[in-house]
Symmetry: C2
Amino acid sequence: MSRTTASADVFQAIGDPTRRAILDRLQQGEQPVKQLAEPFAISLPAISQHLQVLCEVGLVTQQRSGRQRLYRLNPTPLKQVSDWVSQYEQFWTTKLDALGEYLEEQS
Amino acid sequence: MSRTTASADVFQAIGDPTRRAILDRLQQGEQPVKQLAEPFAISLPAISQHLQVLCEVGLVTQQRSGRQRLYRLNPTPLKQVSDWVSQYEQFWTTKLDALGEYLEEQS
DNA sequence: AAAACAGTTAAGTGAATGCTTAACTAAGAT
DNA sequence: ATCTTAGTTAAGCATTCACTTAACTGTTTT
């Protein structure tokens, strides 16, 4: 079997550019797989596997509708990422402040 | 050679929990490798390799000091992550979620 | 000059990752 | 009933990953 171990880690899930692009696309709202897959140059199973990973970390939910499967964005797990990153925000503001001061000194 | 391909992708770099922990640790300030590696149960080369990845994506800078190598946090590449995630912030408050559902129902 | 220290580079390994094609399941259309 | 359509599951493959031990580089101490 392939793609069993998906690690259930949000950080790793968004580590893949295709998965980020899928999430970006889902901002436009709930979509069936085919429509979701349309802009990507990879096979449908590949998309399906990515969706499975996103499902496992909770970034996406699934709902049947006739013979389609509608996928919907659930961004709440991204809060974990947001929280982690925001720890560093102070660092880069101070750093950019310092850069600003430096640039001012130079001019 | 191992660990050559480090993809130079910030998202992937922070996908690894050990690397995130290293960054977290570097918030306390510039540190030599040995000190940095202290809490981890992996070998020094492994840490060194992680640092190389972090270096490649610019999250860390290196500076020699005698026989030590001081590593320093440079969080600015995390801005990329912050920017991406903040796109979703509006989605994860429940009020806006409800609004989103409402709007979808209408369309 | 030799030994010790701090760290990297090299080489190899097992497991995970992202992808493929082929085969399958389930629902709607003919 | 059969054929599409929509999508997943299975199996396999090449690459990448995180890690290891061993060997190396450069610096300080003795």
